[in-house]
């Protein structure tokens, strides 16, 4: 089932999402930089809302085609993790980050991001 996300306002970042078998899957393509930040804010907020609405137990974020993410965009994900951590245990969902280890930024940044919520986040390559 396709999940409707906010209309893209960025020329450099596109995101799509779908839901099946309790898993909300989302694919990030392009670059998450300053220009894409407002769109990213909206998208991540919507993903969280949809995960709760659909009762997802897992959210998969596919970063493998994301060329770069700047530090302010990372803050969006940190805030998201904090939101999930604050949920009651029965509402929490796990987050799987699909990573492309050949991209240096992903090796470092996603590992750092996972430190915020090791119970919730798993990195898959």
């Amino acid at each position: 089932m396709s999940v409707e996300l906010p209309k893209s306002t960025s020329a450099v970042l596109s995101v799509d999402a779908s839901f099946a078998d309790g898993t909300l899957s989302s694919r990030f393509i392009g670059t998450a930089d300053v220009e894409a930040k407002p769109y990213l804010d909206d998208v991540v907020k919507k993903l969280h809302e949809e995960a709760l609405r659909l009762g997802a137990n897992k959210v998969v974020i596919d970063f493998r085609e994301l060329e770069f993410m700047n530090s302010s965009s990372f803050k969006v994900f940190v805030s998201w993790l904090a939101l999930v951590q604050e949920l009651p245990a029965d509402k929490q969902y796990r987050i799987h980050l699909l990573s492309n280890p050949s991209m240096h930024w992903q090796r470092r940044s996603l590992a750092a991001l996972s430190c915020f919520a090791v119970d919730l986040v798993a990195i898959e390559t």
């Binding site: 770069f68 700047n70 530090s71 302010s72 990372f74 803050k75 940190v78 904090a82 951590q85 930024w105 470092r108 940044s109 590992a111 750092a112 991001l113 996972s114 430190c115 915020f116 919520a117 090791v118 119970d119 919730l120």
Partner: protein, 516 residues
């Protein structure tokens, strides 16, 4: 979180720290946006330094660790004129976020689900990589200035007390191994291991006071300049040493007290000259020892504390009834300064009014068994006296020889020994006890057959224990060369430079009972 700090202090610390972090983040966002502001950077350095110090004071250990890392990161970024790699930018941004998360947690420490050590490893990796890359700093046209933030290194003498205790236990076990290795080839090597650990621990038990204070004296000069004041800081610290945990408490107290003295005590040069004082203010920091306490005095020749303002504020806060105000003594009024959140209007300033306050300074000192007091003379200055326990280096003990006569043993003099002729069925052989107390099953003391069979019946309060001995006990003074925790059954002490095993009989018995 430190359990004995009032919740009010923690709440205030959290609020102030989040404000500080907000300023740090705003400045960092400006920097990565290409805008440098000298004043804002100076503010960042001050905010991080205060956050680091305050967090240690209130026991938010993880915040302390991470703010220290953030200081290092900013220092490295500054060396690069803030032209940082993506990795460095990311870890600084994330460290700020991480600090925010930790500050909002109840205890200020990483809880389940947060991997602070993992994040610190990431930070260290980036620092290592960044420092390894040679750079040529090209000045930016927008640069107004940059701030140097000192690198902070953890030295051996700043190891935590539990870590030192663990090392002491390891050293004690090495000593027992050495004793039991009679006639073996490893004896010399074990003696060397013991001696190395003992010497390291000896150096860690206390630290020299001067370096702790001296760096703040240097900072005071630049802070005075910022305030348009002139000051000389005079140190009379001698070779005074303090326990590491005491050094940490004094370190925090001195930061706050020097700031206070500069901000509120020392007057600007014109005012000083008008009052018939030298244009240069003077802050004297003296250390001495008195009745087992290290006494540190911080004295300034400034304007003194406005006791009328303190009186007024105490009434406003409901601490002092108006009808009692006129008769309140100076000492009583000065005591209000240590109440949580107590500041007079003149005490709230850019420099000194933003810390966690004198109440937290007092709490930090009380936590290490110390105290703080103030005296003041209007127009002539104030003196703050910090008292902390002097390092415990010696104890009184009863020394005796083991049943075989081969090992020198002792018990604390708080036990009262009564000598009986043996044998006694309930008497514990110390060799057995030592063997049980050592961590290794290989620790077996090779004692000869008893040369004289005595029983030392030891009493302390309601506790009583009988030990076998070869000699009568002699009251001596023992040097604590390798202090183990109070609840550990053994410690190696030196009596007349001879190594002796100090037994803690109350814990020996529990070990015996547990093992039986």
């Amino acid at each position: 979180m430190t359990p004995d700090l009032p919740e009010g202090i923690i709440t205030r610390f959290r609020t102030l720290s989040l404000e500080r972090l907000g300023r740090v983040e705003a400045t960092w966002n400006s920097l990565i946006g290409g805008v440098q502001d000298h004043n804002a950077l100076r503010e960042v350095a001050r905010d991080l330094h205060t956050l680091k110090g305050d967090s240690r004071m209130v026991g938010f250990d993880d915040v302390h660790v991470l703010s220290q890392k953030l200081e290092e990161l900013f220092a490295v970024a500054g060396q690069l004129d803030y032209r940082v790699s993506d990795d460095l930018e990311l870890v600084i941004t994330m460290a700020i976020q991480f600090l925010g998360v930790l500050l909002r947690k109840k205890s200020g420490n990483a809880v389940s689900g947060i991997d602070l050590p993992g994040f610190v490893r990431q930070v260290d990796e980036v620092l290592r990589e960044t420092r390894a890359v040679p750079t040529i700093a090209m000045p930016r046209t927008a640069t107004i200035g940059k701030v140097r933030v000192p690198n902070v290194k953890v030295s051996m003498d700043r190891l935590s007390e539990p870590t030192r205790h663990r090392l002491a236990v390891a050293a004690t076990n090495a000593y027992l191994e050495y004793l039991s290795a009679r006639g073996t080839t490893s004896r010399t090597r074990l003696r060397g291991v013991w001696a190395t650990l003992r010497d390291e621990l000896s150096g860690m038990q206390s630290v020299p006071l001067e370096p702790v204070i001296d760096r703040h004296a240097t900072t005071a000069q630049s802070l005075a300049r910022e305030l348009g004041k002139q000051v000389a800081v005079e140190l009379e610290l001698g070779a005074m040493r303090v326990e590491s945990r005491v050094a940490e408490a004094l370190d925090l107290a001195i930061v706050h007290l020097i700031r206070n003295a500069l901000d509120h005590g020392i007057e600007p040069p014109p005012a000083r000259v008008a009052a018939g004082k030298p244009a240069y203010g003077m802050i004297r920091i003296r250390a001495g020892e008195q009745l087992g306490m290290t006494v540190l005095e911080i004295e300034d020749d400034g304007a003194g504390i406005d006791l009328d303002a303190v009186r007024e504020r105490a009434i406003e806060r409901g601490l002092l009834r108006p009808e009692r105000a006129a008769t309140a003594s100076d000492a009583e009024l000065l005591d209000y300064i240590f109440h949580p959140g107590f500041t007079t209007r003149s005490m709230i300033t850019e420099v000194s009014g933003r810390g966690v306050g004198m109440d937290a300074v007092k709490a930090a000192l009380v936590r290490v068994g110390g105290n703080v007091s103030i005296s003041t003379t209007k127009g002539h200055g104030s003196k703050v006296t910090l008292e902390t326990p002097a390092p415990i280096r010696q104890i009184r003990a009863y020394q005796f020889l083991s049943p075989g006569g081969g090992v020198s043993l002792a018990v604390s003099a708080r036990w009262t020994p009564v000598v009986e002729d043996g044998p006694a069925r309930d008497a514990l052989d110390p060799a057995t006890a030592i063997q049980l107390a050592g961590s290794s099953r290989q620790t077996v003391l090779d004692l000869a057959r008893p040369v004289r069979d005595l029983v030392l019946r030891l009493r302390w309060g309601f506790l009583e224990i009988a030990l076998r001995a070869a000699t009568e006990p002699v009251l001596v003074t023992a040097d604590r060369i390798c202090p183990t925790p109070d609840d550990y059954p053994l410690e190696v002490v030196a009596i007349d430079q001879q190594e002796t095993i100090l037994l803690r009989p109350e814990h020996l018995t529990s070990l015996v009972e547990r093992t039986a």
